[in-house]
């Protein structure tokens, strides 16, 4: 590495570090709070005496799925500099997971007040502008299958999970794409690696998923791909514990990686 390249690398590292240092990540468990508005309700949560805005009610095709009263919620977000919404500091991006057990103490509904409005556009005429269910969080691009006519290459599809759940809800489209690619590429093998993970909480010890969660995710995917028509003997599943959480984007640790290894391709017939 010459001196110039080293300087560029150092600068890049510094920039990334500075950006990260500037971001305040918050990971906490708390009761969700609903605040009504003139349109749809907004969702908040309180942490250390401060109110945080999580998102608004939309529908099944939205990226943000609101929490449940009657349950605590795990919020993993970045404190943004945007103006408060519904009285709460905006966490953006934010991932939430409803914790499975009931908690009747989580039951706060605040009435609508004129001073609180939400960024909500009512559904207009015509088809839903969002593509469908199961859009990719953050608009992440699809793991593109190999270009037409080029030989298919090994491709990795990744799905993410809410905390302590083994259904890859919101990721059905990716699962479908993986299955389709496996079929069209005559997959020799579909390797599933599913992870159980933890979250580094902002004010306490790591919050760890149930011990069997990696195995459950792996076996659930094995079943799903079999139901989607992939031969069981081509599906190989393993489960692991993810790397130690660092509190930054821990939700990305709760994942499964599906690697589709194309098999032998049918011989092409030369055209005249």
């Amino acid at each position: 590495m010459n001196r110039k390249m080293a300087a560029v690398s150092l600068l890049a590292l510094f920039s990334a570090g500075a950006a990260q240092a500037a971001e305040q990540h918050l990971n906490f468990v708390s009761c969700p709070i609903l605040r009504d508005t003139a349109t749809v309700p907004c969702w908040l949560s309180e942490y250390k005496g401060e109110l945080y805005y999580l998102g608004i009610q939309q529908d099944a095709s939205a990226e943000f799925y609101p929490p449940f009263l009657g349950h605590k919620v795990l919020a993993e977000g970045v404190v943004s500099s945007e103006p408060r919404i519904c009285g709460g500091i905006v966490l953006k991006p934010v991932k939430i997971s409803n914790l499975p057990d009931l908690d009747p103490s989580c039951n706060t509904m605040l009435p609508a007040e004129d001073r609180y409005t939400v960024p909500f556009a009512p559904r207009g005429p015509g088809p839903n502008p969002r593509p469908s269910l199961n859009r990719r969080p953050g608009g992440a691009p699809a793991a593109a299958p190999a270009a037409a006519k080029a030989p298919p290459t090994k491709t990795v599809f990744t799905v993410y999970y809410d905390f302590d759940t083994d259904w890859a809800n919101r990721w059905a489209r990716v699962l479908g794409e993986a299955a389709t690619f496996a079929k069209t590429s005559n997959a020799a093998e579909v390797q599933v690696v599913a992870y159980r993970a933890s979250v580094k909480m902002s004010d306490g010890p790591d919050f760890v998923e149930r011990k069997e969660m990696g195995e459950r995710r792996a076996k659930r995917l094995e079943q799903t791909f079999a139901e989607l028509g992939l031969p069981r003997d081509t599906i190989k599943v393993v489960w692991k514990d993810a790397k130690k959480a660092d509190g930054l984007e821990d939700y990305k640790l709760r994942r499964a990686e599906i690697t589709v290894v194309p098999g032998a391709q049918p011989a092409t017939t030369a055209s005249r």
Partner: protein, 521 residues
């Protein structure tokens, strides 16, 4: 068994007369008012002559109307008149004298009302095949000659459904349930029966459910794709014949994949057949079911419902001509189209019609745009809406023209589970205890008391306990009572349940408007 053949022949003539009358839609209201008033017994109750008996052998016309307590229900056969003689839908294929038509009566919108059941008991002294011990009584082990042994069918219009326990998966393998099921109360004796109960050599769970409409099925069998849009990462089963995903929307617990498999199991079960129908019979049954449409066609207070310039969703012709698979919770394409035409007076309307039609139009607005807090409803609040969600009736009842859920629609509305179902002493009560290592029911936790575990009897999943597939909204006036267990005897009771369940706070006017709106569908 005594069957009044003369009455049935008369009925046949009356049906044909009504069918002819139906051709002239412009004068439909007057013709029906005269013709059906003459045919119907006092107080608008069903005449026994409207009963369609297995093997009766008449022609079911291309269009025919039957009187109902609120007016008339219309039936359309899109493929033309149906010769029912030897037709497998209308012919007993099993050993107990029942046919499909026994529980899917044209006069009841291809379902069966409790009122019709009661009338049939009186007509036959309880000896009609309808009351077969296998599922037309509270339990086969009870003395069948006693009316009390058939109380759930007589009072609720509910048949016994015996679910194999544990359930089997799509490949016939036993599913390990996520919960333990115990019988807390067994008023019918069937769940603790040494022959039919959970402890029997072939363990079964007996629940009691209403028969669904065998009409408008192009909507109900519509398929949405490879994944369940409400349980997003769950795949949909495939039709064994076509290899395409099925819709899982036409049985209360979605246990049957296709109309064909339903017909097979209905013949083997409800009709106690010794063998499944042959392929030709199955095709005729399914072909008939896919071309028959039913909807309310006239109401006593509002007059004709299906006429040029009227509300476009009303009447069986709208069902025949409509498009299936349309998500209709958008303002530009409402579930039941538009009732704007009924918001203003029309020439020739009577004062009574004006009042009623205005009420229906308001009722549709209440249904479609009045928000309330939908709360603690498994498979609704859990599908990206949050809990609670501020939405309307049409959020869940979103499929164009039927008001079902376009997605595979099992939902825990609370009609089966406590606390919302309340204590219904004539129904069994089960205690469900979810295993410690599975996700509990999202809003009821790990211990649930239920009259009917619903979809969980098929899936074995804790989160499905008490979830029932919602039924279509058509021909409601012809087939009371409502909900899968018949717990709402009237449309008013149905509306009141929702008001209580979601703390909606409907005004008296809104309740009546909703009832009137539902009554014309």
């Amino acid at each position: 068994m005594t069957i009044d053949r003369a009455s049935n022949s008369n009925a046949s003539r009356r049906r044909r007369t009504a069918a002819r009358a139906g051709v002239g839609l412009a004068c439909l209201s007057g013709v029906l008012a005269l013709g059906l008033a003459a045919a119907a017994p006092a107080q608008g109750t069903y005449g026994k002559s409207l009963w369609w008996e297995a093997g009766q052998g008449d022609v079911l016309p291309a269009a025919v109307d039957f009187d109902t307590p609120e007016g008339a229900v219309g039936i359309i056969n899109a493929s033309g008149p149906i010769e029912t003689k030897d037709h497998p839908f209308f012919t007993a294929l099993g050993t107990n004298g029942r046919a499909c038509v026994t529980c899917h009566q044209p006069a009841n919108g291809m379902s069966l009302s409790a009122q019709t059941v009661q009338r049939r008991w009186e007509e036959t002294n309880g000896r009609d095949p309808l009351f077969a011990a296998i599922d037309g009584s509270n339990c086969p082990s009870l003395p069948q000659e006693l009316k009390s042994s058939h109380s759930l069918l007589l009072e609720r219009g509910a048949f016994r459904v015996a679910a194999q326990w544990p359930p089997r998966d799509r490949n016939g393998q036993a599913i390990k349930p996520e919960f333990k099921i115990e019988v807390v109360r067994d008023p019918t004796g069937c769940n603790t029966s040494p022959v039919y109960g959970l402890g029997s050599p072939t363990p079964m769970v007996s629940v009691y459910r209403r028969p669904r409409m065998a009409a408008n099925l192009k909507y109900v069998t519509n398929s949405g794709g490879a994944f369940n849009a409400k349980n997003l990462a769950m795949t949909m089963p495939l039709d064994p014949d076509t290899g395409r995903p099925v819709g899982l929307n036409f049985m209360a617990d979605a246990r049957e994949l296709t109309l064909k498999t339903q017909a097979v199991n209905a013949v083997l079960g409800h009709e106690e057949g010794k063998a499944a129908p042959n392929p030709e019979q199955l095709k005729k049954i399914v072909d008939f079911e896919m071309q028959v449409y039913a909807a309310q066609k006239m109401t006593s207070a509002g007059g004709a419902l299906q006429y040029n310039g009227g509300p476009p969703a009303l009447g069986p012709a709208a069902m025949r001509d409509g498009q299936q698979g349309v998500l209709a919770d958008y303002l530009d394409n409402p579930v039941f189209k538009s009732f704007e035409v009924w918001k203003t007076a029309a020439p020739g309307e009577t004062a009574q019609q004006r009042v009623f039609r205005a009420s229906v139009a308001r009722g549709f607005d209440v249904f479609f745009v009045r928000p309330f807090w939908i709360r603690d409803t498994q498979h609704i609040n859990t599908v990206g809406l949050g809990n609670p969600a501020k939405r309307t009736c049409a959020t869940c009842h979103n499929a164009s023209l039927t008001g079902q859920d376009l997605s595979a629609g099992w939902v825990d509305l609370g009609t089966a589970n406590t606390p919302w179902a309340g204590d219904q002493p004539d129904l069994p009560m089960f205690k469900i205890t979810c295993d410690a290592d599975v996700a509990p029911h999202t809003f009821l936790g790990r211990v649930i008391y239920t009259h009917d575990p619903g979809r969980a009897l098929v899936s074995g999943r804790c989160i499905d306990v008490g979830s029932i597939v919602m039924a279509q909204f058509r021909a409601l006036s012809a087939r009371a009572p409502y909900f899968s267990n018949g717990s709402a005897k009237t449309l008013r009771e149905l509306v009141d349940f929702y008001d209580r369940r979601f703390n909606v706070g409907y005004s008296e006017q809104e309740r009546q408007d909703l009832v009137n709106f539902l009554s014309v569908l």
